[in-house]
Structure formats: C-alpha cells, structure tokens
Symmetry: C2
Subunit: 141 residues, 2 copies
C-alpha cells in the first residue's frame, strides 16, 4: 500500500503542514501564502539580498522566486531596486508595510509551528531532523 511508503508519509506530512499553516494564516485575515511568508522572512533576515540568493536559501529556482517577488511587490510588502554595482542584480528589502505584516505574522507562525511539533521531545525533534537530512544527503549524492 502506498500509504505505508515512507516517501509518501514525508510528502503527506509536508502537505498537511502547508495546508494547516495556510488555514491559520487565513483565519487571522493574513493575505499571504505560506511560501510567500518564507520569502518575506528571508528578505527580512537579509536586507538588500538578490533573488538568486533567496533561491539558494530556500532551494527554489529562479522563475519561482521571480514570480513570488513580483507578487510580494504588488502587495507592497517589499522594495526592489537595481543594484548600482551590477545592473543584473536587484537589491530587495522589506517595506514598511512588510514590516508591519511581519509583526502580525510572527506570533501566528509560532502558533502554527507549535501545533505540530509541540508534543515532540527535543530528542525526537533532533532525530527527525537527522533522519531527514540523511535522506536528503543520499538523494543528493
């Protein structure tokens, strides 16, 4: 049975997390997707970052980041200006609107994070992390 397949369990868990996260954001009237939140978070941690670097951090490709940056820009949560040093780059940073949003979203994200992981001990979390990284490493090699 497919449901006993370990890969499928990983995939399904990821999907449930995303789904749950999205529903909590929505219930708080927050108008961004989980993925957009991740991008916003990276930009917040790395003022003036360029798109390629965002992609490296989140392990997403250029077109994906391109589109997400555009939608965050349209929503007014970030700023994007051509880098003066190298005209191929853009320098991306959080806008004031974006900062306001971050403050609202942070506690909600914490609520989401706790919901699924709360009942795991530190050791369990560590184990889970190690096992996932082991699988990733096998695949990458």
């Amino acid at each position: 049975m497919i449901n006993e397949n370990l890969y499928y369990k990983i995939e399904l868990t990821a999907r449930k997390i995303r789904h749950y996260g999205q529903s909590v954001l929505k219930s708080h009237g927050i108008n961004i997707t989980v993925e957009q939140w991740l991008v916003l978070n990276v930009i917040n941690d790395n003022k003036g970052i360029n798109q390629l670097r965002i992609g490296e951090i989140l392990v997403k490709d250029k077109p994906t980041i391109s589109k997400m940056v555009r939608s965050l820009l349209e929503k007014g949560f970030i700023q994007k200006e051509v880098s003066s040093k190298d005209l191929r780059h853009y320098s991306i940073s959080i806008s004031k609107e974006g900062e306001k949003l971050m403050n609202v979203v942070f506690p909600v994200v914490e609520e989401i994070r706790l919901k699924g992981i709360n009942s795991l001990t530190e050791i369990e979390k560590e184990n889970l992390s190690i096992l996932l990284l082991k699988i990733q490493k096998n695949i990458d090699s």
Copy 2:
C-alpha cells in the same frame, strides 16, 4: 534561520524526493509524473475504483484527481466507464498499455525508493515514520 526549521526540512525533503524521482523516471524515458504514478498504482491495486476513493487513499481532492485521471486517460493508461449501479460514479481500471507501463516502472520506482532510504536501518525508518505520523496527528486534531 529558516533552514533550521523542522517544517522546512520536511518540506524540502519531500521536494527533493519528488525532484529526484521525476529525473529518474525521465532518464528511463518514462513519460509520466511521480504523482501520476501514484494514481496509477492505486488504480492497479483497486480495480474498478472510483475517483473519490482514489482521492481518499492519496489524500488529494476531487479536482486534482479529476485532472490526473483525465491525463492518464488521454495517455491511454487507464479505462473509465460509468458505473451501472450509480450513474454518478465512474469505474476506473488499468488498460493494457497501463499494465505494460507498470511493469517498466516498478523496478525504476524500487531504484528510487532505495536511493534515499537504503542507508537507514529498520529502526530508523520505523522512528521516522512514527515521528511523522505524530506530527500529522497533532495537526489533524
């Protein structure tokens, strides 16, 4: 950092598995997606199944299954006929082409499965499974 987030590790692992799986299928000249393979597999295990039930097994919604069934039908891998008992249902089964494909794909899927999981002990796999289900259960509750 986002990369240390446990949710993100689960999500990233899932994405890497899918990506790797897709590339191996492609390298063997197999013209279906990983997701389509899952659907095909469920149909193969449950002759005459209807779409809703496929969705229940794979935890996917009706529109998703509807589209995937259509594309598998267009590729000639499955058959779809209205159920005589209840005209709202379709009865779906593998075609001869589909069976041929299954025979080709099975060993490839096994190769994919082993690549990531091979180095885990039975206990590790069991642990991983338990931890993932625990998270799912927390989220569902």
